[in-house]
Symmetry: C2
Subunit: 507 residues, 2 copies
């Protein structure tokens, strides 16, 4: 059994041993325990209670959580305090989703013996939970996309027990949060086993392969995510794999926008690509800036903006960032207008400095620059200078699927050309932003956090109330006598659920 170590990313030193890596038997035990506890989650009111109680208990232990997460992630207590607030908000938002019952999507069609072209039986449909959900915690959100994060919250809201695979960057935070979630379950009278935690690299594939695992939620790299997606898809019984893998988050700055507000755009971009040391899935990684003086001013503003140095989430990621920047900077025609690199001079031995690269758009449509179409995790962005709308559109057409796409317009650009640009962006992205920055993903019903592959492996969203749909499947009841129907479907609607009855929405 290998020890699971908590490591300080500022120095690379070991903080302590917090757990042991799960063996295949451990994973089996965790999945079976979760599955056995699943029936208790049928109680909708108790599930809502669980989510709200978890939020309360997390807040109660807020100081310890933030301190532990900061010691393991170096994300800082301001950001982590905000992330904890977001995490608790999300848990409560999913409790509201459970209470509303809209996610059940109840549809009733009464029998109609005279229907054309064939008589209709009585049909009633609702959504039911899939079963045990495997959740893969993300490196860059020790809370909001990890043990108590959106995948866990939405799965529990759906009525699915979860087995979380902890991220190796924050095992102590994971243990702490899992303990709190399990305590919340006990407090509301549910079995603690509805939440399980496993550690270790090998636990991941084991978890996805397990016959009782019914679905997977993943946030991480293209390489890791694709490997697990392939396992999920090649099982004897394939299961849904909702993965958020990699995203370039292109930004387009129009000529007129550059002419009218180069400084604002440049400093805004600098703040966005360095936020959280560039360790966001929605970091703007490729920015189309017009060639010529107006675009030059944008480049100047980005390159000269004050940007922070700091540590990354772990030493391996730091090496990958430095190597990724070096490889891109070495491509023909790529210039470093702000040189990224090691920055141990501020007392944080493993700190890095952000960087900005530029390249002509014409270089990107031909092959050897394919690396520029791949996400480079960390504080670096690539400014692609385009000489014409055609050059710009050729780059957009070559981009892979992405979580977000952003455009900066001038105030008078409200016509066909801008609309065409937005249409092109909506073809490759899950979210289209105007005059803002993609960083900052609002937890709201209208949010779509996902996008064409490799941004995500399915068309689902992993943020916002719609995320619950990933863990549900519909079941239709045909001619079932009223007393034998689930209460959600009974004629008198005893649970007062919103339903669509013979085409009419009732609330």
């Amino acid at each position: 059994m290998s020890d699971v170590l908590s490591i300080d990313p500022r120095t690379g030193t070991v903080r302590g041993r917090v757990a042991t890596e799960a063996t295949a038997e451990d994973v089996d035990r965790a999945v079976r325990a979760a599955a056995a506890a699943g029936a208790a989650l049928r109680d909708r009111a108790r599930r809502a209670d669980l989510l709200r109680t978890a939020a309360t208990l997390l807040e109660k232990s807020g100081e310890e959580i933030v301190a532990t997460a900061d010691a393991e992630s170096a994300l800082g207590s301001v950001r982590l305090t905000g992330e904890l607030a977001r995490t608790c908000y999300q848990l409560r938002a999913f409790a509201d989703v459970v209470d509303s019952g809209a996610y059940l999507d109840v549809v009733v069609n009464h029998a109609d013996p005279s229907a054309v072209p064939a008589p209709r039986p009585d049909l009633r449909r609702l959504n039911v939970p899939l079963g045990v959900v495997a959740v893969f915690a993300a490196s860059n959100f020790p809370l909001a996309f990890s043990v108590p994060g959106g995948d866990t919250a939405s799965a529990l809201a759906a009525g699915c027990p979860v087995v979380v695979k902890a991220h190796p960057d924050h095992p102590a935070t994971s243990v702490l949060c899992a303990r709190i979630l399990r305590a919340a379950a006990a407090e509301v009278g549910l079995p603690e086993d509805v939440v399980q935690l496993v550690h270790g690299f090998d636990a991941g594939p084991e978890l996805v392969r397990h016959s009782l695992t019914a679905a997977v939620g993943f946030t991480g790299s293209v390489r890791g995510g694709r490997a697990l997606f392939d396992i999920a898809s090649s099982r004897p019984r394939p299961i849904p794999f909702h993965g958020e893998l990699g995203s370039l988050n292109p930004v387009v700055v129009t000529e007129r926008a550059a002419e009218t507000r180069a400084d604002e755009i440049g400093t805004g971009l600098a703040a966005s690509y360095t936020l959280g040391m560039g360790q966001f899935c929605v970091k703007p990684g490729l920015v189309l800036v017009p060639a010529g003086p107006a675009g030059d001013a944008v480049v100047r503003a980005v390159a000269t903006a004050e940007v922070p140095s700091g540590p990354m989430l772990d030493p391996r990621m730091r090496e990958a960032f430095l190597a990724g920047v070096r490889a891109r900077a070495a491509l023909p025609g790529v210039e470093e207008v702000l040189v990224a690199g090691e920055a141990g001079d501020d007392g944080t031995p493993l700190a890095v400095r952000p960087g900005v690269l530029t390249v002509a758009a014409a270089r990107l449509t031909g092959g050897p620059h394919d690396e520029l179409f791949e996400e480079c995790f960390g504080p670096v962005t690539v400014l692609v200078r385009y000489g014409s709308a055609a050059e710009r559109d050729a780059v957009l057409a070559a981009l892979p699927g992405t979580l977000t796409a952003t455009v900066h317009l001038a105030a008078d650009e409200r016509g066909g050309a801008a609309a065409d640009l937005l249409a092109a962006l909506s073809g490759i992205a899950g979210r289209v932003v105007v005059d803002g920055w993609p960083t900052g993903v609002t937890v709201a019903p209208a949010m779509q956090h996902g996008g064409p592959y490799p941004a995500a492996t399915t068309p689902a969203t992993s943020v916002g109330s719609g995320a619950i749909a990933r863990w549900l499947r519909p079941v239709c009841y045909q001619n079932v006598p009223d007393p034998l129907l689930p209460p959600e479907l009974r004629e008198a609607n005893p649970l007062r659920l919103p339903r669509t009855v013979d085409g009419v929405r009732t609330v």
Copy 2:
């Protein structure tokens, strides 16, 4: 280039050559043409027109379509006339879905600078079409699950152009229907290329592999479907594969039900498992009947009911049916209470006779009888005799995922035991039927035609208005100025769409 032949399944003789098998280049051309025509489908009103006009034109050519389909499928003109009516109903139902706009699932969250835990931007979401949909036609529904069937109708409704891979059992019907769909497109001012047809075994994998294919709809066998699912999942950019593969459609007859209405259940089952010569994905393939005299009466009623002989859809399927029945009948403990086999004595050389097998439930929980848990396509059903509720439940727990599960109850069984049974069935099925038969899939919003693998590869439905969701993905617009928003999302709601605005449903 190989010829595509239309074959008479009653005699095995060649009716004629109707097309040539598509080469890789043909498939490429078809997908590109469909993709190029896709933009025209953005016009919602025209899409609804297309679907309604297609229904009208299909009806106009009804006699020719039914005659051609009967000559190729031997399903008979009564059934095929009904199937055509259902197909046209379905096309019109999806036109109504397009008109209603509910499938767009528009959600608006206005900006809220004072929101906690973080200020909210203006967010507006709607569903957009995925792109070119590959549709694999089913052998057993030359119309309703083939060229003009539910996958095509729902994809076009979503705004996706389609490339249909014709089923080799009915190429002439496919050519005829594709011509009519393309004529309908032309009639409403859309490019004919929104519907494409390709033939030939190799065209299938080519179509799934094509970089511009965005999603797949499939109805067919576990073997064929899984092979194509694997291709879809292992592409560089994986795509959604909505497949309906195989289903056992278990039926449970309770002791009390057998006691009170053995004859009714037996004759009902005989009619259901032989309907369409047992060539339905929802054919009841495994029936749990109590041991003892009450159950014996059910078995007697099934085995002695008058059942039709007739041809199957094609000679290969006929061979597979006969071999499948022989293999199952040879298993230890399996008895043939009605012997299936060849039945060329009615003037139809390739006809078969239905069959009924019985086996003790205790035989099924151990391994060598695994074939009884696999669908045997054609007019055969297996009656599994259970001695106790525990034996019955052990069989149910071992069953694979299924499209439907049915229970026959006595009129006074409305309590906990019956409810527990229904709960167990809902755990493995997409549709639960009481006191009826699974054959006959109603086209209605509350329908769920799907189920845990291998019944289906995803939790989606392929029948009913919900089927449109398979071809859509959400896009969120953040802080987009009103004139640049898609009309569906504009503040004034110019298209009068149903929307959820800041949590309030508006119609």
